[in-house]
């Protein structure tokens, strides 16, 4: 017969295991298109599609950006089971600022499902080059999908910026995304 303490301990362990095993929110997967009118203004980019792929604990965030004839695709791959150290890490930067990914820099990033698996949280520390040298930026992001699954809101806080960045995306129907 288990003591009350053991029951509590077991419950705590199970709860922890439950948190760790929170499954991905499948509604996050797919192609999302930035709604500029609802979002923080992009600078240097005109359009942004975010393509989210979920594969077990792996989360791939592919950013497809355009500016005039210029096209860029940048993907951050994260793992909700373990932190990652990435040689390349993309952030939606204001391109008219002299803030660049540091050459040879490594970004440490942790991804977690929170809010009972509804929200993806990413915490990252990324080195950037500015005019005075290399400095770190701490990034905190949440990816929140609306109840109807048609709107994705990405909120980013930076250690270097007091004004949060809010990007609102509309789901691109699978047919249109092809």
């Amino acid at each position: 017969m288990m003591t009350s303490f053991k029951k509590i301990l077991l419950g705590f362990v199970l709860a922890l295991a439950g948190v760790a095993a929170v499954s991905a929110n499948p509604a996050l997967a797919g192609r999302w298109r930035l709604d500029p009118a609802q979002s923080t203004a992009l600078d240097g980019w005109s359009t942004l599609d975010l393509v989210v792929s979920l594969d077990g604990s792996k989360v791939a965030l592919r950013h497809e950006l355009t500016w005039g004839a210029t096209k860029a695709t940048e993907t951050n791959t994260l793992d909700t089971a373990a932190p990652v150290d990435a040689a390349k890490y993309f952030r939606i930067e204001a391109r008219h600022m002299a803030v660049y990914p540091a050459k040879g820099g490594v970004t440490h990033a942790t991804a977690t499902w929170i809010d009972s698996g509804k929200t993806l949280r990413i915490e990252a520390t990324t080195p950037v080059e500015v005019s005075q040298g290399i400095v770190p930026i701490r990034l905190y992001s949440e990816y929140r999908v609306s109840e109807l699954g048609d709107v994705l809101t990405v909120i980013e806080l930076r250690s270097s910026r007091n004004r949060p960045l809010v990007y609102v995306f509309k789901k691109v129907p699978a047919e249109a995304a092809k």
Binding site: R95, H96, M97, Q132, R158
Partner: protein, 552 residues
């Protein structure tokens, strides 16, 4: 008696004073000229044909004297035509007679033309060929519906391009024009009449090309259009050393970066834009008697300043002051450095005098862009660099300028990306400009920085996109201040044309930290005192948006 004597003395004194005043006012003799007002309709199917005819007529009418001036609406890219008109009236005592219609202009100036050349509205490049002919043969250019208008004034047909170039590529058209006219055209200048293409064309600078008998074209400097690129390279190689390429690159066929790179490769100077008006008029005025450029320096050339534990910020407006925010409200509220198109000392002295005369103590002029014209220095041949920069130095001395602005977007993507200078280029600038107090670099942000002796080279840390919400501009600047945490921090900001100075004043009120906005010369002197910025040049491993041109 005493009263009568006093009255006589006072009368004589008054007459003397009046005479002195009149002497001053008439130091520049009065001159008669004519003026036309243009609207904003540059559609090929609308207002362009008549404007093209009038601009060619302007080039001919102004061949020997400044006779015809054009005022554009304030929404036109070059906003100075009205203020400069007022300046000509006031300072140069030009009396302008308005010409309300094309018919009136032809009546007045038909004797300047020997005839007309017909261009083909279905073939845009034929307009450029027509302009070339206009310069060589003293013709006005007309589309077919305007033939009766010019014939009414007794002008005879000199050439007719209708149908000549139907179905031909631009490379074929211009090759034909080269075969026919190139040998007779000016080799100190060429007119790259690009810019707007298709349904709208805006050849506002054509008067200058017609007056100076230039070859007109809009060949692409785009490796994807090899026939055009090859022909343009041939033309550029045949220009005289130190020649100037006027106009602007053709939108949609190539990029500004490609064209400026190509021109720089030949050590030539670029002077734009394609719609810059009235050079045929402006070039005929010298500075008014006794005028001397005196810049609003805020610090002596040899002064040594010491930076405090602050964020020092300076604003620079480039893009040539004529298309900037000069006439917009708010100028003078913040210290602004203005990049002067130095070549205007040759082509538009009155415009430069106007800018200098109307400058506030907060307006500070600097030289640019990269040299004696718009050039990308990473591509200027080493053997041509010293002579070009000698010319730039001479113009800067004339303009009392002590700071040189450099820009090389050959590897950039528009106003983004790699805008850095190689170490070799930086070395050349330091050697060529021993007397400047410093250099600034970039258009968008860049990373070239140096300090040699008392001469810093600082790149822009921020470019203010005029469309960016001011709250985000404020947040961007505050973020840069946070990331560059050492003090002093030197934050150089490029203000893109059409930004509103008043809105920038509001931005500066919301900056966080020990921020001090200083004039550019003070900024550079302070930056020379404490190098908290890295020394850096173009990294060969950094991506280049445009790889450049293959060697010939």
């Amino acid at each position: 008696m005493k009263r009568i004597f006093s009255f006589l003395i006072l009368s004589c004194l008054a007459l003397t004073l009046r005479a002195e005043t009149e002497t001053t006012l008439t130091a520049t003799p009065a001159r008669e000229a004519y003026v036309m007002h243009f609207d904003l309709n540059w559609n090929v199917a609308g207002g362009l044909p008549e404007k093209a005819m009038l601009i060619s007529l302007q080039g001919l009418a102004n061949r020997t004297a400044p006779n015809l001036y054009v005022i554009h609406p304030k929404e036109y890219q070059w906003e100075i035509t009205q203020p400069l008109y007022d300046y000509y009236e006031r300072k140069y005592h030009v009396h302008f007679t308005p010409l309300a219609t094309a018919d009136a202009a032809l009546t007045q100036f038909k004797s300047a033309a020997k005839g007309y050349v017909v261009w083909d509205k279905k073939v845009g490049a034929s307009l450029n060929v027509a302009f070339t002919i206009a310069g060589l043969e003293d013709a006005v250019v007309v589309s077919e519906e305007l033939i009766p208008v010019v014939e009414k004034h007794g002008l005879k047909k000199i050439d007719d391009l209708r149908g000549r170039y139907t179905g031909q590529t631009d490379a074929q058209i211009y090759q034909d024009a080269v075969n026919r006219y190139w040998s007779r055209t000016n080799k100190d200048a060429v007119m790259m009449m690009g810019g707007h293409r298709g349904a709208v064309m805006m050849p506002g600078m054509a008067d200058w090309g017609v007056r100076q008998k230039m070859f007109f074209h809009d060949l692409a400097a785009n490796p994807a259009i090899p026939a055009e690129l090859a022909l343009e390279r041939k033309l550029l190689s045949q220009l005289n050393p130190g020649a100037t390429v006027f106009g602007w690159h053709p939108y949609g066929k190539d990029t500004e970066e490609q064209h400026t790179t190509l021109i720089s490769t030949y050590g030539l100077k670029m002077e734009g834009l394609h719609n810059l008006p009235n050079l045929s008029f402006n070039c005929q005025f010298t500075f008014t008697p006794g005028f001397k450029f005196t810049n609003h320096h805020h610090v002596d050339r040899d002064a040594k300043l010491v930076a405090g534990q602050k964020v020092y910020m300076a604003f620079v407006q480039s893009d040539s002051i004529g298309i900037g925010v000069w006439t917009k409200p708010g100028r003078g509220k913040l210290p602004f450095a203005w990049q002067v198109t130095m070549n205007w000392t040759k082509f538009s002295p009155a415009a430069l005098e106007y800018f200098h005369e109307s400058a506030t103590p907060n307006d500070y002029f600097i030289g640019g862009l990269s040299g004696p014209g718009y050039m990308y220095p990473n591509h200027i041949p080493a053997d041509k660099f010293p002579l070009l920069m000698k010319e730039a130095n001479e113009m800067m001395n004339m303009l009392d300028e002590r700071v040189l602005e450099i820009m090389d977007n050959s590897a950039a993507d528009g106003n983004l990306g790699n805008a850095d200078l190689t170490k070799e280029t930086v070395d050349r600038y330091y050697k060529a400009f021993p007397n400047v107090i410093g250099f600034i670099n970039g258009y968008g942000p860049a990373r070239t920085r140096d300090l040699r002796g008392s001469q810093p080279m600082i790149s822009y840390d921020y470019y203010i996109n005029p469309r960016r919400p001011r709250d985000e501009v404020t947040a961007d600047l505050n973020e840069l201040i946070a990331l560059n945490a050492k003090r002093p921090y030197f934050l150089l900001v490029h203000v893109r044309e059409s930004n509103d100075v008043n809105s920038l004043v509001e931005v500066t009120k919301r900056l966080e930290g020990p921020v001090e906005i200083v004039p550019l010369d003070v900024f550079l002197k302070l930056a020379a005192s404490n190098q908290t910025y890295t020394t850096r040049y173009q990294d060969p491993e950094e991506p280049k948006h445009f790889a450049g041109f293959p060697k010939e």
